[in-house]
């Protein structure tokens, strides 16, 4: 078959095209025809279909996400939603950009590569903004911990997150690891990256300046990630000499090359420092289609691309495939003609292939040529920014009333056994087996990392200015009440950041939900967004960006709604940070905040009773705010020696983690109902230890935060007077054995790391 050109398309308006196989609806296809005044060419159809996919166009979520844009303007926000990542002013002329993104489905298909390329993708988003990436985090969800498929998926995902991030030299400073049946067949792999730059270094993704060159640099383009659209390959192209090529040869898996990405980072930073670009965009989902149309759409003119110039790894790729390829480790820059040589020289220094593939034009069309013929001629905005938008029907889940009415048990028959069960459950257990696979030290600026409540990174070695980050995404709460659940996650991340002593400043999020075509899922989604927006309004925080991942389901069953929320905070002086873990004997243990008997969606109800029902704990953002202000003050004045927030697993979990960290026990007394005291997940609570209880009490009183004295650190057991005694050795055994027993043997690792990608030193 011959090449489908613009000219041919105009002459053959009635040719059948496989738009439905490409995921376009009939009316969407019609709209493309209306825009172009003819049928699209194969290459155009490829571009529209990927760019109008849910993943790239946010067509189901857009109407809801507008709520974030409607939040009151924040002085801290330098660049808001819409760019690759938001940028926040963190003081002293520093700007920070951070974002979390999902790579769920690819990680199920090929765990190692899926997770690795997830990290690679978010790092490029941060780099694109002009920042040096300085740390990563990962939020992971798997099916039941003892399910065979979890043993297939988890070790590969963890090795992939580690393999890629470690090889880039980015410390992993925290994350989450949780298990639930609802993720069997649909694990969640959400990765966060944070980068730092000076205010004046912010870069944007737009193509300006007629005659400026479009440079593609990084890895060569292969057939990665286009397996799903191979329908086009078979359709249009002459088979090459071997006569073998066809859909089967196009991999749907993308393979990561962190070494190339590391070189890309260094090359980009040198290019930014020398001020050699006017606009830049990373290549992620939808590859060149996305990068060219977004750059052109955000700019003032048009763009001309000569597709023959794209360096290929696989010479059999069709032009449509080249436009859609999701080969990793590529970037696209707009460079003034005078700077091109300097730009290419930097790339050569770092062994990064770079090629001029086109230029900015004064028209308003994005045109692409191949073998001297025009195969794309479109208004770029219609591809990149004016995709379809849907207001999908919504309805609360039919079972929601019954679920909320099904209150959990509220009394423990055996506090000691329940305590051990909660802390040794896969969700509550020590995560060291996972986090040891991540480098936390590289770059030498990691002040706090897992298992701390927040990761803290120093950004200036002279002034000791730093940032704190936490990610939280409790899906049980969101299942019971998505509006409140999203706010509870926001509250937890906000609290975690404040516990370290940082002032919370901005929010990112990754919204993992089922199919938007299900009214019940759509309702959950809308409620979660509304909740997050309302929560941010109340806390005075902007949402700087995020990611939406829909269609997370196994067969007909959607995952529990999982809004993962990230909060960024600032430390004026990281040397004042408050760490977790008890080190010293004889300190007073205080509980800040108020405990109510709240077990709906709690870890205790899930682990001990296999129960999910009732209402999540009551949200109290006023109390969260007061508590955060108090924590910042306690840190600044150096009044507490440790702090740990109380969340999943309640006080029992928080005490366990605090005591086992350095092997320091405590003797404690609990007032009121012991089940609530130990296992309730009431919000706005933190456990602190101090040598000056009086001063902490006074500060708490001034802030309006209730204080309960729990006891005194010391000894080699956690003793709750009149209730139970847990020797630390026994507790440690229960807490640490779980994950190694499930995933720790070398046999489990067999096959998790594919040939060609050995992660090493």
């Amino acid at each position: 078959m011959s090449l489908d050109t613009v000219e041919l398309a105009a002459r053959t308006p009635d040719d059948e095209q496989p738009y439905a196989e490409l995921g376009l609806r009939a009316e969407e296809y019609q709209r493309i025809k209306d825009i172009l005044g003819r049928r699209p060419t194969t290459a155009e159809l490829a571009m529209y279909s990927v760019m109008w996919s849910e993943h790239c166009s946010y067509k189901s979520s857009k109407v809801h996400l507008r709520r974030f844009g409607d939040l009151p303007p924040s002085d801290a926000l330098l660049v808001g939603i819409g760019e690759n990542a938001g940028v926040v002013d963190v003081g002293d002329g520093y700007a920070v950009t951070f974002k979390v993104e999902s790579h769920n489905h690819p990680s199920y298909v090929e765990p190692y590569q899926g997770a690795a390329t997830g990290v690679g993708g978010i790092v490029r988003d941060i780099l694109t903004m002009g920042a040096r990436p300085v740390a990563v985090m990962d939020s992971l969800r798997f099916g039941r911990a003892d399910a065979p498929d979890t043993a297939r998926v988890l070790p590969g995902v963890v090795a992939g997150v580690g393999g890629y991030g470690n090889c880039l030299g980015l410390p992993n400073i925290g994350g989450e690891l949780l298990f639930d049946d609802c993720y069997a067949g649909n694990p969640l792999v959400n990765a966060l990256c944070v980068g730092v730059m000076r205010h004046e270094d912010v870069r944007l993704a737009k193509a300006e300046g007629t005659g400026n060159k479009v440079v593609l640099f990084g890895a060569r383009t292969g057939g990665d990630g286009i397996g799903g659209v191979s329908v086009l390959a078979s359709e249009t192209f002459d088979d090459s000499a071997d006569g073998q090529r066809g859909p089967a040869k196009r991999p749907s898996v993308q393979v990561g090359d962190p070494f190339t990405e590391k070189l890309l980072i260094e090359a980009c930073l040198e290019i930014f420092a020398a001020d050699l670009v006017t606009g830049i965009q990373d290549l992620g989902g939808a590859g060149l289609s996305c990068a060219t149309s977004e750059l052109a759409s955000a700019g003032t003119g048009g763009m001309h691309i000569d597709l023959d110039a794209v360096p290929l790894r696989d010479s059999t790729l069709t032009p449509a495939e080249i436009l859609m390829s999701e080969s990793q480790e590529r970037m696209c820059a707009i460079v003034e003609p005078d700077e091109v040589d300097a730009f290419l020289a930097v790339c050569r220094k770092w062994d990064v292939p770079a090629t001029v593939i086109g230029e900015v034009t004064d028209g308003d069309r994005l045109v692409v040529d191949w073998h001297g013929q025009r195969i794309v001629d479109v208004p770029p905005r219609t591809v990149a920014h004016e995709g379809p938008v849907y207001e999908r029907p919504m309805a609360p889940p039919a079972d929601l009333d019954a679920l909320q009415a099904d209150a959990p048990p509220s009394s423990s028959a055996d506090l000691r056994a329940d305590w051990l069960a909660v802390v040794s459950s896969p969700d509550g257990a020590d995560k060291t087996w996972v986090t040891e696979q991540y480098d936390r030290y590289v770059r030498g600026n990691t002040v706090l990392a897992q298992p701390e409540d927040a990761g803290v990174v120093r950004i200036d070695e002279q002034s000791n200015r730093g940032i704190a980050l936490a990610l939280d995404g409790n899906a049980r709460f969101a299942r019971l009440d998505p509006y409140t659940g999203a706010q509870l996650n926001l509250a937890e991340a906000y609290r975690n950041v404040a516990v370290s002593g940082a002032r919370p400043l901005a929010v990112t999020n990754c919204l993992n939900f089922g199919s938007p075509e299900e009214p019940e899922v759509m309702w959950q989604f809308a409620e979660a967004v509304r909740g997050l927006a309302d929560g941010c309004r109340e806390l005075g925080l902007p949402v700087t960006g995020g990611n939406v991942s829909l269609y997370n389901q196994t067969g007909e069953t959607a995952i529990n709604p999982t809004p993962v929320i990230g909060v960024l905070g600032v430390h004026e002086d990281v040397t004042r940070r408050v760490p977790g873990g008890w080190r010293a004997d004889g300190e007073t243990v205080l509980l800040l905040g108020e405990t109510r008997p709240e077990f709906g969606g709690s870890a205790w109800a899930a682990v001990v009773h296999g129960h999910l029902g009732g209402r999540p704990p009551a949200l109290d953002l006023t109390a969260e705010r007061a508590l955060a202000e108090l924590m910042v003050r306690l840190a600044a004045e150096g009044l507490v020696s440790s702090a740990h927030d109380v969340a999943d697993g309640g006080l029992a979990q928080a005490l366990t983690e605090s005591a086992l960290r350095y092997g320091t026990g405590a003797r404690l007394g609990l007032a009121g109902d012991p089940t609530a005291a130990l296992f309730s997940e009431s919000v706005a609570r933190v456990v602190v230890t101090t040598a000056d209880a009086g001063a902490v009490r006074a500060a708490a009183e001034a802030a309006g935060v209730p204080v309960t004295e729990l006891g005194t650190t010391g000894g080699d057991a956690l003793v709750v007077d009149g209730a139970l005694e847990l020797p630390l050795a026994e507790l440690r055994e229960a807490w640490t054995a779980t994950l190694p027993a499930l995933f720790g043997s070398p046999e489990v690792a067999v096959g998790t790391v594919p040939a060609g990608t050995v992660p090493t030193s």
Binding site: A219, P251, G756
Partner: protein
Amino acid sequence: MVVDVVLKPEISDPQGQAVLGALGRLGHSGVRSVRQGKHFVLEVDGDPDEAELRQIAETLLANPVIEDVELHLPTD
């Protein structure tokens, strides 16, 4: 039995690329491409059951999503 596991041809091979780059810098310009895979040597008790060995190779030693296997049975 020997099993070689190689990346499918359409999958990118950063390791092979790195070796190729090194060869170029060391002046071995005659090498046009390098692909790197895994090589397993299995010793089997008694008579090897070819079907079983094939299954082992294809399900455990290789990841069929991105890798192909080549079996070399002792009789080869």
